[in-house]
Symmetry: C2
Subunit: 325 residues, 2 copies
Amino acid sequence: MAQNQAKFGIIGLGRISQRFAKVLNTCDQALLWAVAAREQERADSFAKEYGAKRAYGNYLDLMNDPEIEIVYIGLTHNFHYEVVKQCLEHGKAVLCEKPMVLTKWEAEDLVACAEKNQVLLMEAMWTRCLPASLKTKEWLKAGAIGEVRYLDVQFSFHVEYDPEERLFNPALAGGALYDAGVYPLEYAYDVMGGFSENMHSMHTLTPNGLDSFDVITMQYGNGAIAHMVCGISLNTISDAYIYGENGHIIVRDFLRGKRCELYNDQNELLDFYEEEAEDGFIYQIRHAAELVKNQKLQSPYIPWQDSIACSELFERLMREWKLKE
Amino acid sequence: MAQNQAKFGIIGLGRISQRFAKVLNTCDQALLWAVAAREQERADSFAKEYGAKRAYGNYLDLMNDPEIEIVYIGLTHNFHYEVVKQCLEHGKAVLCEKPMVLTKWEAEDLVACAEKNQVLLMEAMWTRCLPASLKTKEWLKAGAIGEVRYLDVQFSFHVEYDPEERLFNPALAGGALYDAGVYPLEYAYDVMGGFSENMHSMHTLTPNGLDSFDVITMQYGNGAIAHMVCGISLNTISDAYIYGENGHIIVRDFLRGKRCELYNDQNELLDFYEEEAEDGFIYQIRHAAELVKNQKLQSPYIPWQDSIACSELFERLMREWKLKE
């Protein structure tokens, strides 16, 4: 089995990478080979805790490790573009935390770079790899609820305002849209089959002028409407509702996607799907490992186009809100 | 007890009036005195079934019945203005089905008429009289969730398109906004303490050009956002979510308001309220009967201003959608 394991490196050793490493160690198809931080000590400590074979005090050394097949980027998103690009240029496959980047140009440049170097590039939109998400897509594709007419999806959590915190730091690309918004936006892109130009948004601001709660509505050519909410100032329910002409699907806590339910037009439950994994990261890790082993360039669950479209929408919204030029 | 009962008349003897009469007959404070339809036979049959003392073959005879203290108007809304006005001019208190009227001018004219004749005028927004609705208001007033930041309220049901049906008949003021929209709109007016000029809407059309599904978003001066959905083309969940800075309230099936729940910011259930009435109309009937007996002109739960503001919003939306001049 061991020789079929994809050898992972991890760059950026914060909280999300701890979770990633922990789950990776439960995945038969993956092996935690090396980790890298800007300080050797931090890398050593992380490597020891999670059993990585190598610990590097700088990112380049990890990229130059010939054993590594795929690098997971757990850095804050303001550093993604630069580091992902370097990895790709070193011939490493990349699984990059969401949001992958913040501008369309950066997204397209990374995609071009992945193509040029013939390596996998995948945004870590792990929720799309969950069995419940795949079941939802399967229902939609089979026409179980007919044409989608209305999507209602929101992800908003509450963090006390603290200008020292990353989320409220403009230099670290803080704000609700990037951190929380990427989930409902890419969810809508996936379910609705794209974004619409016919869009309207409202937002509120943190005391230091970042977006804190955003409501985005899109209407498509066929009249269908998508309603997306994200925030860092309120705890909202995170169920996703997909209403079709013949019924609807509710994904309970769509981010974790533990359970999805299929209803007919009379609100009668027709079918449901529940999964049992302790941590949903496992599906993403397994999926990425398989893609690497099969020398795929992109994930069928998280196509490049979706990451490009999302970063383009970020730009449009930030311009509309006058939060960026 | 009998002499303290408010004597009701009913004008318009369709489905909603059947339900009203049935519930009225279970209410100690109210007595079904007379009913009126345009045909004597229909009135006779209704009176017999629900035990009304008098049956009139035209509305004026009912208005001239000196025993009647309050008239319930169960006609389709296109007839409301004219008949309500006549009732008020005959010195009768009026409980009028929703929406009371479709234009601001009509609403203001009826209010002036009620004031001039010193009689009760009340829109039958019965949901506001439910104990769970009153409990919700009590929580809000006591600051249980702090300042309201986001309201998410929707009421949409699905009726197969049929141009012969009232809902799809422009002459009978069909469409989603009037029939379904009045609920979330007045709900938002109540919870948010008004409407905002800063509004955006999207809508879809029935094959014959009436609005079939509407999404309306408002942002208030303090940044708070209200999201209202109504429709006659889809069955949606009808829970209302009121998010405040310190927690939220969920009203399950807000139209019927059987249960409301109070949560803190960590989504922990702090309190809930459930009621048991078989049909929620009972609270409205009891309330209207008390108001009449106490010679009140308007209901504290459903103030005139709310009906005026809602009809004004109808006009604005219909103009924006180019469905009315």
